[in-house]
Symmetry: none
């Protein structure tokens, strides 16, 4: 009933905070490739074992740092699918069109895909918007606005995949019209219409 508190000195919340702060700054400034446990320890004034006690390697630390700001907040105001989805995509693109987006991509690429830590990162940072989008689509279906294709998963990938595709490949920037264009094309594919009889 009592909180099962173990004896001994409890982990320092301050140390954890300093580590994550330093790691995040370093990620933004120098990129994932320069994020070393050694440097984070030195710069945050913390011993290396204190880091290794919480994260197994630099990838996990990077993921923790990228998650530490809380989940990406997505605006989803909108009375119909188009406006809601556009608002969401706009804030998503805005959040990723920075250095941070590229670092998230690189961190994910470097992470052990089987690790629990990686799965949590994936769900919180990468797939949460995809799930939000799925909800929007389902609501719109209920409202009769759209008719979803058989394979909704693929539709979702077609909406959210291009964001990471551009970050990864870098052939084109994540710019302003990107969100609108995606929504427009996606809705053309699913929009209900008397005009789409067959």
């Amino acid at each position: 009933m009592s909180p099962p508190r173990r004896p001994g000195r409890p982990p320092s919340q301050l140390a954890r905070t300093k580590i994550l702060k330093t790691a995040h700054d370093m990620l933004i400034k120098d990129g994932f490739g320069r994020l070393t446990v050694e440097a984070v320890a030195a710069q945050s004034g913390v011993g290396k074992p204190t880091i290794y006690r919480q994260w197994a390697n630099a990838s996990e630390l990077a993921m923790a740092a990228l998650m530490s700001g809380g989940p990406v907040k997505l605006e989803e105001s909108g009375t119909n699918l188009r406006s809601a989805l556009t608002a969401q995509m706009r804030s998503l693109v805005q959040a990723f069109a920075t250095t941070r987006g590229r670092q998230i991509t690189m961190t994910l690429a470097a992470a052990d895909p089987e690790s629990e830590y990686t799965k949590a990162f994936r769900n919180q940072v990468i797939l949460s918007s995809r799930e939000a989008g799925r909800a929007l689509l389902q609501e719109a279906t209920v409202r009769g606005e759209v008719t979803l294709p058989q394979d909704v998963e693929v539709l979702l990938d077609m909406i959210y995949g291009p964001v990471y595709y551009r970050l990864l490949v870098g052939h084109r920037p994540l710019d302003a019209g990107f969100a609108e264009s995606i929504v427009a094309i996606a809705l053309d594919a699913v929009a209900n219409a008397d005009r789409k009889p067959r």
Copy 2:
């Protein structure tokens, strides 16, 4: 008229081949994270400087190894857009649904995005199918099969991005129906129809 041959011992084509072969095998077997110049040199019986004379680091070497098999061959038979695009996507998915696909993704993520080598890799390995797809779409437009949206670039990203998205994030496999589903949804977005008057 004579071939402008420089003096000195010419680079050994054999060495180059052995290096690329070893690097490719190592990529497939152990992954990009384990591909070290040291190990490639040791395993291919080549000196490290011989590797560094041609590639600046492990990333470039990995890209060279992944390109050394020649470009991915895409089937594009088909009389209409749907069949041609489906054939292409099928062979693309098949080519990437292996370990190689994941390694290509990780290699690209780790590469210096500004390097000339990276750009070549991107064009040859990642974007060549996208360009082929663009050609298919344009031909179909000429034939009157489809009406392209304003932002064709985004449409192309929606077709090819999901492949890398799934490789990168790993939330779903690149399976059989994937190619068909993408083509189906994409064509729904652009298919010409009297049924889509305005």
Copy 3:
């Protein structure tokens, strides 16, 4: 009063011992030219950085290894200058007439003459016998056995220099009579005598 212990894990005395032992063996067996930090690390089962943390390069390591056996012990029994100096020279020649002597010479030649490490090596290994000899000469002067020349430094160089000269140039071996001959000639130069009036 308490020993001023710095924080952190203390250097491993075992590692240091293993390194010096290995380096010394290698010096005697293969010579200074073959003493590489790489080989010492491999053979002593120690990481390279552990060596570099204590010595800046192979020269310093070699000097440390040559000093690690403690200073050369010189016998100096003798009631008069001749017997004392002869005893000292005999043990000096014996100590240097081995491979070790040649390695000391080569190590000294290769060392940075300005380095503090080199100076310590010089004083402990090369000049300590010279200083002992100076003491013997001074005592004998006090006893009235000899009259020293103006430039005692040169006299000392004439006594001890030939040892290293033969090691370096190799024109003649460091053999048994060498010690006696040097002492005999040196004493001829300084021996007091009514026979050497003015």
Copy 4:
């Protein structure tokens, strides 16, 4: 009857000269430790094999460079042993009191003591003055100026050894009075005298 000309392109005397010049400059400027075949080839505009065709390694090249200026010229004017020997020692000290002296010492220390090249270097550069000194001593003996000790070799080592001893150990400079002091002490040891009856 025809001059015995071998076929093929004759060795370039110019190349040889350039190599030796470059090697000598490099020795004086950067020291023996920095004299690499690579650098000499690059700086003299000659291929490495051209160097290796004539010298087996950097040591031999260094010795050749140090010998290329011709033997050290020693003044030996003097009517009696003291003046002749002093003149000789003065010019010897002067010749070696420069960077060149130290490089000669280091080169000798690094050379393979068994090699023919090393022996030639030793005889021409190191021991020639010693032999000249032996001649002076013998002439003086004939003239009745001095009585040589049993072991003349050791006496010679005591005269010439200190020069290299100071160069090698560096505890004292090769300065002006050095030559005089050595001669003075040496002559005290061998000077004939009624004053030295026993």
